[in-house]
Each structure stands twice: as C-alpha cells, then as structure tokens.
Amino acid sequence: MLRVEGLTVHHGPVAAVVGLDLEVRPGEAVALLGANGAGKTSTLAAISRLVAATSGTVRLDGRPLGRRGADQVARLGLLHVPEGRRVFSTLTVHENLLVAGSARGRRGGGRRAGRALLDEVYDLFPMLAALRDRPGWALSGGEAQMVAIGRALMGMPRVLLLDEPSLGLAPTVVDAVYAALARIRERVPLLLVEQDSARAFELCDRAYVLRSGRLALAGTAAGLRGTPKLVAAYLT
C-alpha cells in the first residue's frame, strides 16, 4: 500500500530522518514511535510532501509519488492529519469538512458522495454535528482533533497518516478519539505517530521505533508489548 525506502530528511543542516525504510500493508495499522525529536513528524511530513525529502522514495500502491506537491499527494488519497490539528481557524466546522473534499480529486466525488461522506463523519463524531457552524478558532483541543480527522476522512483516504492525535487531550477525550480510530482502522490502513505507546499497541498491528532519525526497532505490536523495558529505553 505505502512503502518508504531510504528516506532522509534534513531541516537545514539538521538530519531529522536518515535512511528510513517502512511499509504499511493493506488493512494494516502501523505505529511509528520514538522520543521527542526522534524524527516522527519529519517522516510523516516528508511522506505527504509537506517538506521535501533529501533522498528516498515513497510509493503508493507501488508507484513512486515523483515530484508531486502536498496537495497532489493528498488527492491521490494519501492523507495526513498533522501534528497540532491545524484546523482552519476562520472556517466553520462544516466548512472545514467541505473544503477537505478537495482531496477526493477525481477519485470519486460527486455531490452525493460528498454528502454521504459528511453524514459518515458526523456519524463517527456526533459531537461535531452540534458544532457545525462554530468557527475553527473556537474549538477545544478534542473538538479540533475530531475535525482534523474528519477532514482527512472527507478526502476518502487510501492511507491515513496521523501525527499524535492524543497530544494535549484529556484521557476521556483520548478514549473517544481512539474509539473513532478503531472504526476507521477497519477500512483504511493507518500510519500512527504516538507518544503514548500503550495506546498505539492497542490499535496497531506493527510498530517502528525511531531513535535520532534512524530505525531502532521494528516488530509486531504484540511482540513489542512483551518487551516494555526495551521499548521504554528508546522512548525516553
């Protein structure tokens, strides 16, 4: 589904990611773990073309993304829910969802499909229905996270990249977000960046652990869960 080979990312002189290989197979949820500054966000940003990689290839369904820009990559169905939600502050919740329909591109998306998708998003996050007309700047962290995820869903993702969806949220809200992710996971392959490894192992099949931009560990969630000390050593 999604395959990353030899990905290297620099921010100016800083090498944030070095020679990373990873893969997300159809039907799979994969976690990408690591301490602060390990290069997780940089990896997702390079995959979605938010930043330009120094080298490496990203393939979707076996085809390299080539020189596409972030918006073109999104329209192919590779959707990225960024760190810090990045909800459009001047747009209402509903408009946030509508504008994200752009990502369906020409993969399908008449008006009717758009309406059906909207219904599904409101169904997945019933809270949002009541907030339809609230502007982005007036949302709480949890609400904003739901909008950010809902927005990505409006683009009919074929692979969904999520960057720390639980960051800064109250535990009950994190529960709600993860309940939704569990439903999404049944239809869309996920690549999930998360600080909270316990949550990640619950949701995911496999995990990669980064340390200073390099792959340090990889394995099944069950296997890694069995070696908590080892994992913890890499995550702090």
Partner: protein, 448 residues
C-alpha cells in the same frame, strides 16, 4: 504520474468510503478521453474566444479614410535650409550632447522626442552646408532622470563624450541637481527649463548655463495680462500644482494682475486624481478666466473637469505644455479644448508673420511625422546659436562659447526672431495661443 492517475480512475476507490462509492457507470479508458482539466481548459478558451468575437462583432463602422498615412515628404528641396557655414578650421569636430531622453529610452515617463528631434534637424541642416569649422557636427543624447545618483551618472556619460557644449536638461530638478557639476566641468550648457532660480544672478545661476525657454514666472505673468486685457476677465481664478513650478506661476500671476482680483487660488498635488472641488470653487467664486499652472497630467484632468462642471465658457489658460501636440492628441475630443489657451514660448505651427517658420514647420513634420512644439524649435535654434557663436569666435573653446552666449543679441531663430541674453535666459518671448478645432492658433505674441 499519469499511470497512477489512470489506475485510480479505473479502480473502485479503495479505502475509506469505498463501500459507499460504487462506480455508478463503467468508465471508458480515461486516456482516450480528454481529462477534466483539458476539458475545462477548452471550455475556458472557447468562452474567451466567444467573448472576443462578440465584442469584435459589435465593432463600430470603421471610418477608414482618416487613417491615410502621413503624406510622404515632398521631394527634398535642393535649396539649403540655412546660410552656409563660415570657412574656417577647427582642430576637432564640434560635439553636442543633449541631456534629454527620447521617449523610447527615457526613464522619464513624460519624455517626448520633440526636443532631440529639433536638435537633430539642426545638426543635419548644418552638416548639409559644411558643418562647423570644416567638420560635420556630432550629436548624441543621454537620458537623465531627476533623481539622485542617476543624474550624476548621466552627466558623467555625457562628459565622457567630450562635448563642446551640452543641451538640456528639460527638467529644472535635473538642472538644479547638476549645478555644481556644471560649474566644475566648465562646459557651456543650453538648458530648457523655465525655472527662474537658474538665472545667472539667481540663487542657482551658473556662468556656464543659459536658458532657451522664457522664465516660468514671465509666462504666467503674460498669461494673466492676456486674460485681463485681451479676454477682458474682471475676476481671475488660479489653479496651481504645489511645486516650485506652481509657486513661480503664482508669483507671475500676481505680478500680472494689475488690480484685477484673484477670486480663488487653489493648489493641489502633482498626482491629484480628482479636482472637482477645486474646479467648482472657481465657478462659485465667479472667475471669468482661470490660469491653470499644472502638469500635463493635472491639466488633462482639469480640462475634463471644466467640461463636467459646466465651465466650458470660462477661458482655461495653461502653461507651455498645453501647446504640445501630444497634449491635444491625448485629449482626443477637440470640443473639450475649445476654450483652452496656453502660454507657449512660440507657436511654429501658426506664425503667419514669418514665412520661414512655416517652411521649417513643414520640413520638421514631413521628416518626423508629428507636429513640432516650441521645444523642437528651441533645440533647433540652440544648435544654430552655438554655430554662430563658435564661428564668430573662430574657436570652440568653452570660455569663448560662454562669452559669446553671454553677449548674444539679435539672433534670428525659428522660435524667437531675436534671441538675446537676459540674465542667463536667451529668450523672453511668450506667445498666447488657443485651440480651435484641435489646432493651436496664435492669439497674441508678447515679444522679447
């Protein structure tokens, strides 16, 4: 890249909502159909083309015959245009450099060719009768702009050509900026600004600099005298740009009033875009003629505003720039100019008293294809004045030329019949003209 697109188009969307979005119709091979983008592009182009066609279809009936090319010059007359050159020998050719940009290469958005073309015609005439001192006269033009480093730079470019004398600049700002350089260079310069500060004894005078246009305040004074004594205005209005040019205009107007009241006096910025308030206050004050000392741009604006504010019957008197043919062409509608007067230095297109001016006018127009202005005539005269001064002195030495210009008197040129130095200005004649059917007609000549 197209491969990926194609496959995504053909397959049922996987992933999220795949179950919602069954393909409703089987798509034909996408590569054989125009892509939506191509289709949209085509639609936009078609719409654009259609609009253009419709618009062209509404085209007014073309009159056609008013576009006849300007009659190609009558066969060059074999007789020389000017008196033959004196036989004497100079060690090197006379080189004239004009600090005046041409329209096509000037940094000054208001540049016109009138000036340089006048000089070019004179150089050609002189060279046809033997040049000066046994050599053909050489001529070059260097653009100047009235700003900082640029002025210096163009002056350097001019000096590098080792000029015998300089012509221009046409802007007083440039002339003022160059003052120190001119004194230091010690090259005679015949400048074309009307700024009285450049008088030899004025605050910015130079022994090397001589004006070939009448002083700005003199023109404004004559315009005022004309308004009261010829047009019989009992109350005058004054519009003026808030620069030195406008201030000098005001000084001249006040000098020319001779008791006639100035009922409204309004100044405005050179870049004003709406002068309705100023113009209508002229009407309210009951001005019977308005002196308008503005720039070509503000004058064009006030001409329009006079018509809109119902002041067509009030004589509207501007400075020299009103007399330029480009001004009349720009205005387009001759009816708007019916009551527009200008205080010009001379009016070569209508000078019935001196047939040689008419002949010169025809030659110029045939050669350059437009109506020469007083500026053309003055540059033409400047070059001939220099010939006379050099021939009289028998030398192209800068000091000799300077002294010759200083004592110049009674030189018969095209613009003035009698050039003479008065405090650094070689001419003080002012001609009042008025547009009639779009042609600038001489009304009164205030001689030197």
């Amino acid at each position: 890249m197209s491969e990926l697109r194609r496959s995504t188009g053909r397959t049922q969307p996987a992933g999220w909502a795949g179950r919602l979005l069954r393909p409703s119709t089987t798509r034909s091979e996408p590569s054989l159909r125009p892509t939506p983008r191509a289709r949209r592009l085509a639609a936009v182009s078609l719409a654009t083309a259609a609009t253009l066609l419709v618009a062209v279809g509404c085209s007014r009936d073309t009159a056609g015959d008013d576009l006849a090319p300007a009659s190609s010059a009558s066969p060059a007359s074999t007789a020389a245009a000017i008196a033959p050159s004196k036989k004497f020998t100079l060690p090197a050719p006379v080189k004239l450099v004009a600090l005046i940009g041409d329209k096509t290469n000037s940094k000054d958005p208001n540049a016109i060719n009138d000036f340089n073309d006048g000089a070019r015609l004179a150089v050609e005439d002189i060279n046809a009768v033997g040049g000066i001192g046994g050599h053909p006269v050489e001529f070059a033009a260097v653009d100047t702009s009235p700003t900082g480093q640029d002025v210096d730079n163009s002056f350097n470019l001019a000096l590098e050509q080792k000029p015998t004398a300089l012509l221009g600049p046409v802007s007083s700002t440039t002339a003022l900026a160059l003052l120190a350089r001119i004194n230091q260079a010690g090259v005679p310069i015949l400048q074309n600004s009307t700024d009285g500060r450049l008088a030899t004894d004025g605050p910015s005078g130079s022994p090397w600099m001589f004006g070939t246009r009448p002083r700005n305040d003199t023109s404004a004074q004559r315009a005022t005298e004309f308004a009261t004594s010829v047009l019989g205005a009992k109350k005058l209005g004054l519009l003026r740009v808030d620069t030195a040019f406008g201030q000098q205009g005001e000084t001249g107007v006040k000098a020319g009033l001779a008791g006639t009241p100035l009922v409204s006096d309004k100044s405005f910025a050179y870049n004003a875009t709406d002068l309705t308030g100023e113009v209508s206050s002229m009407a309210q004050a009951g001005a019977q003629a308005v002196i308008d000392w503005g720039t070509p741009n503000t004058l064009a604006l006030t001409v329009k505003t006079f018509a809109q504010q119902g002041l067509r019957d009030v004589p509207h008197i501007g400075p020299g720039s009103v007399g330029f043919s480009s001004f009349a062409t720009g205005v387009g509608d001759p009816a708007l100019l019916d009551n527009v007067y200008g205080a010009v230095d001379c009016n070569p297109q209508d000078d019935p008293s001196r047939p040689q001016v008419g002949a010169w006018f025809d030659r110029f127009k045939a050669k350059y294809g437009y109506t020469p202005s007083y500026g053309s005539a003055e540059l033409y005269d400047s070059v001939l004045i220099l010939r006379e001064v050099i021939e009289k002195a028998g030398s192209a030495d800068p000091a000799a030329i300077r002294d010759g210009l200083k004592s110049l008197s009674g030189f018969a040129g095209i613009c003035s019949a009698s050039y003479a130095n008065k405090d650094g200005f070689l001419i003080s004649q002012v001609v009042m003209g008025r547009y009639q059917n779009g042609v600038f007609k001489t009304q009164k000549v205030y001689a030197d």
